[in-house]
Symmetry: C2
Subunit: 259 residues, 2 copies
């Protein structure tokens, strides 16, 4: 990893951003100014290597103006896994041009991307209002992560990228949002078996960054295999639970002659 | 049904509300002023019988001050199905008092309740920005509706309530939201087999009110049985689809010795 998170946390603690104008201080709206604040602090550490995801794609395609169309632009990534995590859809990539670049997109994988020496550090920023006890936020689709792990194993890509989460804990004070604390975790250092999948909430893995243990001692190949085992086990369990909860209790009401 | 929806639609067409202050005109924020507007128009038709769901509960419990606690307050409903649809949880109902009444709650079943001659008309208001093509909105949890149907059949309640949806189609014009059209449908007049269940989106049934057909000719008992058959079939299908999509493709990556 290239970002110095310990230094970043120290720099951010005690800093503040202006409260967003929109009335409520719920998740997304409140988080945005901090997201930009973290980005600018990170960029101070690694100015030439820190990007927004859309910025990185715009730079990559702009620097290769002779490469046109989805297929050819896909080949610009030297990693199928990173390609899967970062690229936009076929239609959007076909339409890309210097005059029609990508804009920020809410469900991009990365809030911030640090790319150095062919290593991709994918960073997602989560913000937390300390005065509310909120549900753990959506982290990443459990299915998308399963696809990532399958690609890692298919292509033997175990050391060219990582996925990190950074949490800012803030409090409202005199119309400003003040950063009281910050936390950093690496997805691939957590125990894959402990990841909670909320199947009803678009299959999202959910956790508070500050609560994620970092006890996994294996390498990324082992992580990918363990995660896939966990995902498959949980998918089977969910399918069984659906029969128990949504089929069995209602079968007695269904007239057999209708069947 | 007691509300005259045809008259209501005619009255609402061409009327407008002030644009909400919060910047974006996305679903919830934009809809709210219209929700209140529809409520006040409906109340003109049936002033003594039109309520907000929380208002109705506050009135019911206030008029029976000697009835205290969740169990006793539940008994105030003469219908187990309506009770299931409208009452709040045990904890909230235990805590209710004249000094501590219920407030509006976003996931209440009804936006508006018309109660007359022991018949409950449960009305949910949906608003639609005509200048955007949006996904069909969440209507009701498919599981909650299955529980409603089971209660209807258990208690033979087929003529004491209905669930209706009312859609306002609006456009922004000179900083006001103008109602261009409005639509009304009755859930129990739609073909239960045609209801789309989005399992990943919290099992919500989703449709645009203006698109829901009203072709069902049977009675509510038949509707409840047909819906439960549909729900059970769809739940089984989803459980199978989960195995096909989330288990099978990943099994090859799981080492057998780990099993």
């Amino acid at each position: 990893m290239n970002v110095n998170y310990t230094e970043l946390i120290e720099k951010l603690k005690g800093t503040s951003v202006t409260k967003p104008l929109s009335g409520t201080l719920s998740g997304h709206a409140a988080g945005e100014p901090f997201d930009k604040h973290v980005y600018s602090e990170m960029k101070k550490q690694l100015p030439a290597h820190t990007f927004r995801q859309y910025e990185y794609l715009n730079d990559l395609y702009s620097n290769n103006p002779e490469i046109i169309g989805h297929g050819a632009r896909q080949a610009l990534f030297n990693s199928p896994t990173v390609l899967f995590l970062l690229s936009r859809g076929k239609n959007a990539t076909d339409k890309w041009s210097i005059e029609n670049p990508f804009d920020e997109k809410q469900n991009d994988t990365a809030d911030i991307l640090v790319v150095k020496d062919d290593f991709y550090e994918i960073i997602d920023i989560k913000t937390r209002n300390l005065s509310k006890s909120a549900q753990p936020p959506n982290i990443i689709s459990a299915y998308k992560l399963a696809q990532v792990c399958a690609k890692m194993l298919d292509n033997k890509e175990f050391d060219n990228f990582t996925i990190n989460y950074f949490e800012i804990d803030w409090e409202l004070s005199n119309d400003r949002l003040v950063c009281k604390d910050a936390h950093f975790v690496s997805l691939y250092k957590s125990n894959p078996m402990s990841l909670y999948i909320n199947w009803a909430a678009a299959m999202q893995i959910q956790f508070h960054v500050c609560d994620l243990e970092q006890t996994f001692e294996g390498n990324m190949e082992e992580w990918a295999k363990r995660y896939l085992k966990h995902f498959v086990t949980q998918a089977k369990k969910r399918a069984n639970d659906m029969i128990t909860k949504f089929v069995k209790p209602f079968e007695k009401y269904i007239e057999q002659k209708d069947a």
